[in-house]
């Protein structure tokens, strides 16, 4: 196997050195959606072995351009040349020509296992045994761990993402498009992925890399193209340009607004990485007068056979506090979310394990908990947090039935608890959310836009905005800034802080340590279904050394190496 690899590497280098014509040329591609120009005469060249960054704020047109390249969308004008030859229309032609894509969110068969998905995805009729060996070889080579035998529906977002990446690299494409591949990976996994990407590039693959994390771009890419409102506005050299300047190019006129926000926002979070500096951790722990959420001895098996359940989890969230739970996806986060929202009820006799506003709610359903002031932002945008085929105003009703609280009269009165929908009022409320989080892509039809027509980051903003609508007393958020650009991430962080200041308890479940460190008052780690004791961030705030010490400790706990909770399976495969 090794020999094969070496032979290939040599011959790829050979190709890479002797062929200097660009691998891929995108020429003046334009695409309009009704009145909206998503791509306006965009050109881009990709050389063999190049890692090219495509950056821009949410709704700038990045995914649209890449879907055009992948053949999913037909452009209105322009052409694409691969190795000097025009590329035929359609995904099939693009695939046959060696273009593959990691989608921002995943397109896997939910009912099949990871291995079966790979088998279908590769479509080469390989025997399962051989395919498994190959997959494991790839996973080992590139240093990330994938679940091959569990059903995809049981996997968390991070695991989906790893599987998608694996599928694509196993095809060894000529052009690999990666649309925010690290959005739900841990830093370690991301590092592993970067190695993968570099290795592929060295073998001659051209890679287009979309990300909102400018530091990643700097670490990885040789060239960058910045899109703004569908146009190329800059082609900076990421190695030489200041991150700040790149962020400014992305935001254009909005840069001023960014500067304002930056004062309150931690500038070093992975998402708003314009200027590297020490994160401002919340300094004081809020007084623990009212407890919003109290969890004690919560034990719950996963609904899936091999899923990770919860064992004996205890923590509490006070009013005014942001409590962070760090952990790699797939360590019980889903079970915890379902138990807290009421999507899954606790067994009889265990009602007391979860107390919301002082009431035992283990046996109360979603609606009852919502009435007690719980709001949730789940991880999965499509099919969980929102329904793509419904309009935004219908989607806003999903979390608004049976609630009567909220800051203004409209919000208090639009929701219904049965009977007829108040669609016009729901539309007005949706309009508010659109305005508050500056959501783009819904200009033409407003609240009647179908949810799936929004770009990933914009839909995420919408779901977060909806979660904040009814002035919740307890806000449960998973990965709130997944796929959201720096500007909007700052806004979302700000909104979470404001919610806490207003007296809400915020439970933030994330794998993004930067985000957790920037927002949380206390952080605990969930690994293998067990929760560590919480760290009080204020204790580490004084020195930069303290901060990196905390980060280190959290990182170790997350990978299960921090003593108490170890994960034998994971170590074995890693």
């Amino acid at each position: 196997m090794e020999v094969c690899g070496c032979v290939f590497v040599t011959c790829a280098c050979f190709m890479a050195t002797f062929d200097v014509s660009p691998l891929l040329e995108i020429r003046a591609i334009s695409k309009r959606f009704g009145d909206l120009t998503a791509n306006d005469a965009i050109s881009l060249t990709l050389r063999r072995g190049e890692i090219h960054a495509l950056i821009g704020e949410n709704g700038a047109g990045k995914s649209t351009l890449m879907q055009i390249l992948y053949g999913r969308i037909t452009p209105d004008a322009g052409e694409i040349l691969l190795e000097g030859k025009p590329l035929a229309a359609g995904t099939a032609a693009a695939r046959a020509a060696g273009i593959t894509m990691v989608f921002q969110q995943f397109v896997l068969f939910e009912a099949l296992t990871g291995l079966e998905n790979l088998r279908l995805g590769l479509g080469n009729g390989m025997k399962p045994r051989a395919l498994r060996d190959k997959a494991l070889a790839f996973a080992e080579r590139y240093g990330f761990w994938v679940e091959l035998d569990r059903r995809v529906s049981e996997l968390s977002a991070g695991e989906h993402q790893r599987l998608e990446v694996l599928r694509c690299i196993m095809q060894e494409p000529k052009v690999l498009i990666m649309d925010e591949p690290t959005s739900v990976l841990t830093p370690q996994e991301a590092d592993g992925l970067f190695e993968t990407i570099r290795l592929l590039a060295r073998n001659g693959t051209g890679i287009v890399y979309i990300s909102h994390k400018l530091r990643e771009i700097r670490a990885l890419c040789e060239r960058a193209t910045v899109l703004r409102r569908g146009r190329v506005v800059a082609r900076p050299d990421p190695q030489k340009t200041e991150l700040d300047a790149m962020a400014r190019a992305m935001l254009g006129d909005d840069a001023v607004a960014l500067a304002d926000l930056a004062e309150t926002e931690d500038k070093a979070t992975g998402t708003l990485s314009a200027v590297p500096s020490v994160p401002t951790m919340p300094s004081v722990l809020p007084p623990r007068e009212t407890t919003r959420l109290f969890v004690e001895g919560l034990t719950l098996p996963s609904v899936h056979r091999q899923g990770v359940g919860l064992s004996d989890i205890s923590f509490s969230v006070a009013a005014g506090e942001i409590f962070g739970i760090a952990g790699i996806a797939g360590n019980g986060q889903n079970t915890l979310l379902e138990a807290l929202t009421g999507e899954r009820l606790l067994p009889h006799g265990q009602e007391q394990a979860i107390r919301l506003q002082g009431r035992a709610v283990g046996q109360l359903g979603v609606l009852a908990r919502r009435r007690l002031g719980l709001a949730t932002v789940p991880e999965d945008r499509h099919g969980h947090g929102a329904v793509g085929d419904l309009t935004l105003k219908e989607n806003i009703l999903l979390t608004s039935t049976h609630v009567t609280h909220g800051e203004d009269a409209l919000v208090r009165r639009f929701a219904c608890s049965g009977g007829w929908l108040r669609l016009r009022r729901a539309g007005m409320v949706a309009e508010q959310v659109l305005a508050r989080f500056a959501i783009q892509g819904a200009e033409a039809r407003g609240p009647d836009t179908l949810a799936r027509k929004l770009s990933g980051g914009n839909l995420q903003r919408f779901i977060v905005g909806r979660g904040l609508l009814h002035a919740p007393d307890l806000l449960l958020v998973l990965q709130p800034t997944w796929g959201v650009d720096a500007h909007a991430a700052a806004r979302i962080h700000q909104a979470l802080r404001e919610a806490a200041e207003r007296g809400a308890g915020v439970l933030l479940i994330s794998q993004d340590l930067d985000e957790l460190l920037a927002l949380s008052h206390r952080i605990a780690v969930l690994a293998r279904g067990q929760l560590s004791r919480p760290f009080i961030c204020a204790d580490f705030k004084d020195s930069p050394a303290g901060k990196s010490e905390l980060r280190h400790a959290l990182g170790l706990l997350m990978t299960g190496l921090g003593g108490t909770s170890t994960n034998p399976d994971r170590e074995k495969v890693l």
């Binding site: 969308i73 099939a92 060696g98 939910e110 080469n124 945008r381 770009s455």
Partner: protein, 394 residues
């Protein structure tokens, strides 16, 4: 090894050509099935020694040439449309009630029972009471399915279907012994209702009765409930994304109960209308399979209330055609069933192929150990991108 692959057709409805292509395919999916069923029907006529054009004329055109035929069409389309309206609720929520036939029969039994035993004949409320009796009986019959499905997790397809046979046996037993008309010369029928308990006839010397007009409010109500009520929203969410429904707090059990009760209620109403408007008594052959045919109607109508009306008229025509063809071409009445089957299959098949394409590819067998390979002979890329419910969010 040959791999057969079914991929969704992707239309880029955002570009004008893409949108046009999409419309073209949708148009074809509506017209082609009709043509294909006519063609196949013609072949069936031919194989029975009947000139196809003559047969088709006798089947589809002759029945509509007079007033009687036209009114008969409405009389037959009404129960189909009523039942199918109810079926929209269950099917949109992904609950597979295929036992509307049983619920229809129970509706007829309920209305008859109310007429025979419960209402004082001269009260002004007696007519509405009959319909209420039908609705309750139909809903209760569907309620059995709901209970089995929601609380015991019994497959609703099986139990709703089997309850049809129970309903038929119940009907036969009732008309044979306890409810048989003592003055009825031993025919298995109940006594005829008083004329005050019958719906008025709308057109002289036809069977067109007032009950046919029930379809109008029923369709309007269905549309309103599906599109403008929280119940309808819960149905669309549960049918499209069960996980989102759970997240939103729409209880799965409740949706099963409510949709089944509503669909049973509609079927029961149709059964009651049939007895009160048409037969005026309970007879063993109260339904020529309306409950099953309504499933075809619901899908032919694209699960939309107005579509259902059009589909009901079309399918009712096959019933009339079957009767007419029996007389003029000596084909058995079952020919109606054949046309209904042809229609359903071609509609479903063409609907499927308008959304998917089939590809044949030859698998490339490669040595297992070869991990890296020159990028020149890349394997055909994934169809995994085409899960039945693709969730691409970019």
């Amino acid at each position: 090894m040959l791999i057969v692959r079914i991929e969704p057709r992707e239309f880029d409805t955002t570009s004008t050509q893409g949108a046009r292509a999409h419309l073209r395919v949708l148009g074809l999916a509506a017209v082609v099935p009709l043509l294909v069923s006519l063609l196949l029907g013609g072949l069936i006529f031919l194989s029975n020694g009947i000139p196809p054009l003559h047969g088709l004329h006798a089947f589809f055109i002759a029945p509509l040439s007079d007033r009687l035929g036209l009114t008969e069409l409405l009389v037959k389309a009404a129960p189909l449309a009523l039942i199918a309206c109810g079926l929209l609720f269950v099917f949109r929520a992904n609950v597979w009630n295929i036992g509307a036939e049983g619920q229809f029969i129970l509706g007829a039994i309920g209305a008859t029972g109310t007429a025979l035993f419960l209402v004082p004949q001269d009260s002004p409320f007696c007519l509405p009471a009959l319909f209420l009796g039908g609705v309750i009986a139909g809903a209760a019959w569907a309620g059995v399915v709901a209970w089995l499905r929601a609380h015991l997790r019994v497959n609703e397809i099986l139990c709703s279907l089997m309850l049809v046979y129970v309903a038929q046996l119940l009907l036969h037993w009732l008309v044979q012994s306890p409810w048989r008309d003592p003055q009825g010369y031993n025919f298995p029928e109940t006594a005829l209702f008083e004329s005050s308990l019958m719906l008025p006839i709308l057109v002289e010397r036809t069977r067109l009765h007032l009950g046919v007009l029930f379809v109008v409010p029923a369709v309007a109500l269905t549309w309103l409930l599906l599109n403008r009520s929280l119940f309808g929203l819960a149905i669309s969410v549960a049918g499209r994304a069960p996980r989102a429904a759970r997240f939103a707090g729409f209880s799965q059990k409740r949706i099963i109960w409510m949709t089944l009760l509503v669909s049973g209620g509609f079927a029961g109403l149709a059964g009651a209308v049939e007895v009160v408007g048409l037969t005026g008594q309970l007879v063993p052959r109260i339904s020529p399979g309306y409950g099953f045919t309504a499933i075809i109607v619901a899908f032919l109508g694209g699960l939309h209330p107005l579509g259902v009306v059009a589909a009901a008229l079309l399918v009712a025509l096959t019933y009339l055609g079957g009767e007419a063809a029996q007389v003029t071409t000596q084909l058995p009445y079952a020919a109606a069933g054949i046309f209904q089957g042809l229609l359903l299959f071609s509609v479903l098949a063409f609907g499927f192929f308008s959304r998917h394409r089939v590809r044949f590819t030859r698998a490339v067998q490669r040595p297992a150990g070869q991990v890296l390979q020159a990028s020149a002979n890349l394997p055909a890329n994934p169809s995994a991108n085409s899960s039945t419910n693709p969730r691409v969010d970019l």
